[in-house]
């Protein structure tokens, strides 16, 4: 008797909130179909020599063993980590600077905030081409300025034909494009710090630097951790800019994990291997994210 009444209570509860469940239903269906199902299937595929027509052969961990022995994949990991180490601090430092500056009540601050945010919403494809033309070795604007106007260099430099300088430009693009996103979040965080704290500290004779390090940063802790985690995850997923500007070249020197995965899967039709790389990438990002959150989150004391 009681079980029936509890069940009825449950159904009534669901029925009463039916509009909530209906709202969740569509995104949930999309999530299950386009995110969860492909992830699971990809994991499954990584243990096969996957063929798109016909039957695939089970190969166990062979794809993973190949992944660990693949010299080009190792170069990709290295480049991806370098890209991460260059762009994440780059974005955060410039974004924090911009946020603090644009938190002041100066004229044109909305104009500047918009200007900084604009690159975030531009297409990766478009900005990659623009950077490619800017740094073109014969007709690029940068070379023209460096040689013909400022006379800093004697010859035009082939920026994208060299592994190191190409990676530098790709990282530059990544930083430029991402500053606005972090800046907007930092601005919101800054505006959550009560002004009285700063006043009180100033009365006690604190310098600007102390204000920054002792008040701003600690109170923005959770915001900073959030941005850090998101930027690191995002930086590992760099693909379009590398694919368009160098396609991993020359000689795989600018290859990142996703471009190498893409080449293996779609040009060489090695879908099992590509899936194994994807799984490894997922595990790696997952571990890093968990580590960051555990290490860096602390309750805030005023």
């Amino acid at each position: 008797m009681k079980k029936m009444r509890n069940k009825k209570k449950l159904f009534l509860e669901i029925y009463r909130n039916k509009h909530i469940y209906l709202f969740i239903l569509v995104p949930m269906a999309l999530f299950l179909t386009f995110v969860l199902y492909p992830i699971c299937r990809s994991f499954f595929m990584s243990f096969y020599d996957w063929k798109i027509i016909g039957s695939s052969t089970f190969v166990g961990f062979k794809n993973y063993i190949n992944a660990f022995n693949d010299p080009i994949l190792n170069i990709s990991w290295r480049n991806t980590i370098i890209y991460c180490l260059a762009t994440v601090p780059g974005q955060m430092i410039f974004a924090m600077t911009a946020a603090i500056l644009l938190n002041q009540k100066i004229k044109g601050r909305i104009f500047f905030r918009t200007l900084y945010f604009l690159p975030v919403v531009t297409s990766w494809v478009v900005v990659s081409f623009i950077f490619m033309y800017l740094f073109n070795s014969q007709a690029g604007l940068i070379n023209y300025i460096l040689k013909d106007i400022l006379h800093i260099t004697k010859q035009y430099y082939a920026w994208l034909s060299n592994g190191k300088s190409a990676l530098f430009i790709i990282a530059l693009l990544g930083i430029w494009k991402g500053i606005g996103w972090s800046m907007v979040i930092f601005l919101a965080g800054l505006q959550g710090i009560p002004e009285e704290l700063y006043e009180a500290a100033r009365i006690d004779g604190a310098s600007q630097a102390r204000l920054f390090w002792k008040i701003t940063i600690p109170l923005m802790r959770s915001t900073l951790v959030y941005v850090l985690v998101m930027l690191i995850i995002g930086s590992f997923q760099v693909f379009i800019s590398v694919y368009i500007m160098t396609d991993g070249g020359p000689m795989h020197q600018t290859e990142v994990v996703l471009t190498w995965l893409y080449t293996n899967a779609f040009s060489y039709l090695r879908f099992g291997y590509g899936s194994a790389i994807a799984v490894l990438m997922t595990v790696f990002i997952f571990i890093i994210s968990i580590m960051q959150i555990k290490l860096l989150s602390k309750p805030v004391e005023y």
């Binding site: 798109i52 016909g54 073109n136 082939a158 034909s161 020359p250």
Partner: protein
């Protein structure tokens, strides 16, 4: 009451839509291609060729779809995986063995008219449709690469005419180069598409005829000498930086008297003519080396996908495209026909620029017809890049390529 009427109308409407679909016996075939939508070829396809076909075959509708070349391979692969495939595809000749091997293409040699048509097309292009014992398509157009030389720059440098031997070629490259301003030669990148003509003209090759090994071929003496020839020119500064990923485009450099020579094909007339209508274009055969003047065959084949539900109609369209009338129409838009009947015609002989391509096609070779070609292509490209950048010597680089190609051949056995 209102609600009932509303739902009744919706139901009738939906039902009638589905009924309309099944009322007629029409067949619709989809045709995928990579024609640039602003090009002459595309406009001709849409306004002349397809309407003509539909007029002659009133129960077949052709729906054409353009996909950019860079994405095309991926798009084909994903459509196969998703099991929604087009009926007819204008496919780059180098992909046919790959897609045939995986079972994606339908063989066409069982159709009645096939053997007649097969005798009328050039044997080189026809060979690119063959995999195993069957043919999986028919060639649509063919092309090859020849030398484009800038007459104005040649005259300025005091060179008499286009080079016909490798020594003349090296000499011309040297005289045409002005460091920082002009370059004697421009090459697009380090891929086989650009370098195989040098390897073949030098007497070398990628593998043996039966495609069993690359050792002694891609890293054999003739191939090494051919690549070394170009590497030397690069080290002396005669080659523009397009080869390592910089520089301005071929047509821009050629039309603006910056590049003295570059390997081009029939598609450049549209490209150069479109942007620089006053530029003069001069061409000559590929400079002859130890192996003669041997260039590389390009082009497209028409293939029918195995997953197509309208193979009969698809084959009719393929037949139509390879027929003499259509080939002549295509010829006028700059695509070299594949029928040997047209090749001997007055139309071709009097054409502004075709004769030299047909001359070059007599000796031109196709890239290795093997499903693993994409990977072999990447391996050769990497090897040549290493040689050009000076990371390895030419012999070392090509030895690495030979090992890579042997491994690929092993995988597909």
């Amino acid at each position: 009451m209102k609600k009932i009427i509303f739902w009744l109308i919706i139901t009738i409407f939906t039902l009638s839509l589905t009924l309309i679909g099944t009322a007629e016996e029409e067949v619709t075939i989809t045709f995928w291609h990579t024609y640039n939508v602003e090009s002459n070829e595309y406009i001709t396809l849409k306004d002349v060729i397809i309407p003509k076909f539909e007029e002659e075959n009133p129960n077949i509708t052709v729906v054409e779809q353009q996909i950019p070349y860079g994405d095309f391979h991926t798009k084909l692969v994903t459509s196969i995986a998703g099991e929604i495939v087009p009926d007819v595809v204008r496919m780059d000749i180098i992909w046919v063995p790959e897609f045939a091997e995986m079972g994606a293409l339908a063989s066409v040699d069982s159709y009645g008219s096939f053997s007649t048509i097969a005798e009328q097309v050039f044997p080189g292009p026809l060979n690119t449709c063959k995999w195993g014992d069957s043919y999986f398509g028919l060639p649509l157009t063919t092309n090859t690469r020849i030398l484009f030389w800038n007459k104005a720059m040649f005259e300025e440098a005091g060179i008499e005419g286009p080079p016909t031997t490798w020594d003349e070629f090296a000499g011309a490259a040297e005289k045409l180069t002005k460091p920082g301003e002009k370059w004697g030669l421009a090459i697009g990148d380090c891929s086989p598409w650009n370098f195989l003509p040098w390897i073949w003209s030098g007497g070398g090759d990628v593998t043996d005829e039966g495609i069993t090994t690359a050792t002694g071929y891609i890293n054999g003496e003739d191939s090494v000498n051919a690549i070394q020839f170009i590497v030397d020119l690069f080290n002396k500064g005669y080659i523009a930086d397009t080869i390592i990923g910089g520089g301005i485009g071929m047509q821009d450099g050629y039309a603006n008297d910056v590049y003295g020579m570059f390997p081009g094909g029939p598609w450049f007339y549209g490209m150069i003519g479109g942007q620089f209508p006053n530029a003069e274009i001069n061409t000559s055969l590929w400079p002859a080396g130890k192996g003669g003047s041997v260039s590389v065959i390009g082009g497209e084949d028409l293939v029918i996908f195995e997953g197509s539900e309208n193979k009969e109609a698809a084959y009719k369209f393929v037949e139509f495209m390879v027929s003499e009338e259509t080939q002549l129409i295509l010829a006028e838009t700059g695509q070299i026909p594949v029928l040997n009947t047209i090749a001997e015609s007055d139309y071709i002989k009097n054409h502004a620029f075709y004769p030299i391509y047909l001359e070059q096609l007599k000796t031109a070779k196709a890239r290795t017809v093997h499903p693993g070609w994409q990977r072999m292509d990447a391996a050769i490209k990497l090897g040549i890049e290493e040689a050009i950048h000076g990371v390895k010597t030419v012999q070392e680089a090509l030895d690495g390529v030979a090992n890579e190609i042997n491994a690929i051949i092993e995988e597909y056995k």
